[in-house]
């Protein structure tokens, strides 16, 4: 196992990239801790699979280096990197039994048969497939196949990292929970470095210790689920994480007061003068309808989702959501919305600005 370092990494699918837009991955520097559970989260086409393929060695980056521990593996072939990958669609060797599938990577490496046997047995137990060891892999369900491909990765003791490329896409919803919980458990028990690519925030937030949010070929934030929720570093993170996402309003900020639509909104921190397009972001969870204070809001509809209600409305012509606890009264005269000052984030050209003490 090893720490993964990405140095000045960038990748373009065109041979002669001229502008920034030609890069599927913009230049990045990151260190991924040994034994961490990471989720790469982003919408389709943001470059997360490209990044995964660079780490696994299926793609060579156009620039920069990839390091596993101290070893530079940029030019190393996939097989030399000792990584495992679980793909979007289950990849199993149809004509082999489950046992042969699990033994395959070890046999190709010329391991001792007695060791292979013991190891396969142990892995089968870990993934809960001892009973089906002698069945052909072809007739199994999608989730069983996905477990086999995970098992094929874990069967090697020296595996550097296990990569997951949207592994739950073809799995039935009720099995998704189970597999995800199993993955988390396996990570806790064996401490493999795991990198999990997904566009589903629930998957990312429940699986990972650290979520890496990608947007337009860039890593926009790397943090714990809590950090992503409380202090999104980029407006995309605010919008992408949370259901519904963060509300954004154009504002001008002076000190600890924001001017929004001609009204003053108190902030929890003081800001130096800001250049560029300034916005304030506030999560629907930290908004509250009021009859007297705050900005005027036009309520369009109220969705009751059981544990809370989502109020969909407009502030200054822009969509704006408020989450109200179940049972709290919503009256017709509550035409204003109030924010918790400490929960407001300030953005300049989509990037979060750090405030100082008031």
């Amino acid at each position: 196992m090893a720490q993964i370092t990405l140095k000045n990494l960038a990748h373009s699918y065109s041979a002669t990239p001229t502008s920034d837009a030609d890069f599927a991955l913009k230049q990045m520097d990151h260190v991924w801790q040994d034994g961490g559970a990471y989720a790469l989260l982003g919408s389709s086409g943001c470059g997360k699979t490209t990044l995964l393929n660079i780490i696994s060695g299926l793609l060579r980056p156009s620039q920069g280096r990839v390091l596993f521990g101290d070893r530079d593996v940029t030019d190393a072939a996939t097989a030399e990197r000792n990584i495992a990958q679980v793909f979007q669609f289950p990849v199993v060797y149809d004509t082999m039994t489950v046992r042969e599938n699990l033994a395959f990577p070890l046999r190709n490496r010329g391991m001792d048969p007695a060791y292979i046997k013991a190891r396969v047995q142990a892995i089968a137990q870990t993934i809960g497939m001892e009973a089906t060891l002698d069945r052909k892999a072809r007739g199994l369900t999608a989730d069983a196949k996905q477990k086999i491909s995970l098992g094929r990765g874990m069967v090697r003791e020296d595996v550097n990292a296990i990569l997951f490329d949207e592994p739950l896409t073809v799995i039935d919803p009720h099995m998704k929970w189970e597999l995800r919980t199993q993955l988390k458990q396996l990570h806790r028990d064996f401490g493999h470095t795991m990198i999990y690519v997904t566009h589903d925030q629930t998957e990312a937030l429940t699986f990972a210790d650290k979520v890496v949010v990608m947007y337009d070929g860039r890593v926009v934030q790397m943090g714990t689920p809590e950090e992503l929720f409380e202090a999104p570093a980029h407006t995309f993170v605010g919008y992408f994480i949370g259901s519904p996402g963060m509300n954004l309003l154009d504002a001008s900020v002076t000190g600890n007061v924001a001017q929004v639509l001609g009204a003053e909104v108190p902030l929890g921190a003081a800001y130096a003068p800001i250049k560029g397009r300034t916005q304030i972001g506030i999560r629907p969870e930290y908004c509250e309808l009021s009859a007297t204070e705050g900005l005027p809001i036009t309520v369009r509809r109220i969705e009751d989702v059981g544990r809370h209600r989502i109020i969909r409305g407009e502030v200054g012509g822009q969509a704006f959501n408020v989450i109200a606890p179940e049972g709290s009264p919503i009256a017709a005269d509550q035409t204003r919305v109030r924010f918790e000052p400490n929960r407001i984030n300030v953005y300049a050209d989509d990037w979060r600005v750090q405030g100082g003490a008031v």
């Binding site: 299926l58 072939a77 996939t78 990958q85 979007q88 669609f89 990849v91 149809d94 990577p105 052909k136």
Partner: protein, 290 residues
């Protein structure tokens, strides 16, 4: 649930029944008619029972033709299937050269059978043919018109040239449908080239391969035009395959009774072998799933 009985639906398949009756059933019945009757001409028929069948089953001539036929089909399957797979594996997967290869491979399949025969007939002639003359110039004793082995080699090479691309194209289609992830997983598992072929490509190709083998078997078992044009069944009877022999008997000698019995048995043999092929291969497939 009670189904409504409505036999009017039969009317819908009536046109097909009529068409098939005229195109297949009625002609076949004429053949059946000839096979159980004898005639001395002027349309006077008298009943001969299974006489022609017995004669044909016991005939050395038919045994020899059947033997040559089985040998021929066996040889070309043994060459074309592995060669077709090999070609498909080595064809480019995308880009200009992929299309180029596809067109190139499809060309022999588009040439009419008798033209193929003529091409090779001329190509291999020792007096004016490019191949035949070159071989002669190199001092190699080659002459397909009077050496049985040379005739066989020429016919087999011609059939391989004509039909390997069918196997290759079918296999290529099978290969193209394998998702890239399988190859990536194999790389990660450090699978050898042979393992990739044995455990990924071959299982995924097995469906189209079954069709390819069936098609090639049936076609080669019924081969007529190309060897007829190339060697006319000679030298002697050395390349007289079943259908060539059948035509000699029916059209050359006008032995309609024996020829009819012969063709019915010929038809049944092809049907039987194809059925056995198919059943064996699909049961193997079903067993694998268990």
């Amino acid at each position: 649930m009670d189904k409504t009985q409505n036999n009017k639906a039969w009317f819908l398949i009536l046109p097909v029944l009529i068409l098939v009756a005229f195109s297949a059933v009625i002609p076949l019945m004429t053949v059946v008619n000839y096979s159980v009757n004898d005639t001395f001409g002027s349309n006077d028929f008298f009943w001969n029972g299974l006489g022609w069948f017995e004669e044909m089953i016991a005939s050395d001539r038919m045994h020899a033709a059947l033997g040559r036929q089985v040998l021929f089909s066996g040889i070309i399957l043994a060459i074309e299937v592995p060669l077709g797979i090999f070609v498909a594996l080595n064809m480019p997967k995308k880009g200009f050269w992929a299309s180029f290869c596809l067109v190139l491979m499809a060309l022999p399949l588009l040439i009419p059978f008798n033209v193929v025969g003529t091409i090779w007939q001329i190509f291999c002639r020792i007096d004016i043919g490019l191949l035949g003359h070159s071989l002669a110039a190199l001092g190699i004793d080659y002459n397909y018109t009077n050496d049985a082995l040379d005739a066989w080699i020429t016919i087999i090479v011609m059939d391989v040239w004509h039909w390997t691309s069918l196997v290759a194209l079918l296999c290529y289609a099978g290969l193209q449908s394998i998702p890239q992830a399988y190859y990536q997983a194999a790389k990660i598992d450090q699978a050898s080239r042979w393992s990739v072929f044995r455990y990924i490509e071959l299982p995924k190709m097995s469906g189209v391969l079954l069709i390819a083998v069936l098609l090639r078997f049936m076609d080669s078992f019924m081969i007529y035009t190309e060897p007829f044009v190339l060697t006319g069944g000679g030298p002697g009877n050395s390349t007289t395959f079943l259908s060539i022999d059948l035509v000699k008997m029916a059209v050359g000698q006008f032995d309609l009774g024996p020829a009819a019995a012969f063709s019915i048995m010929y038809f049944l043999v092809i049907l039987l072998v194809s059925w056995v092929f198919y059943t064996v291969m699909t049961t193997l497939d079903a067993q694998e799933t268990k």
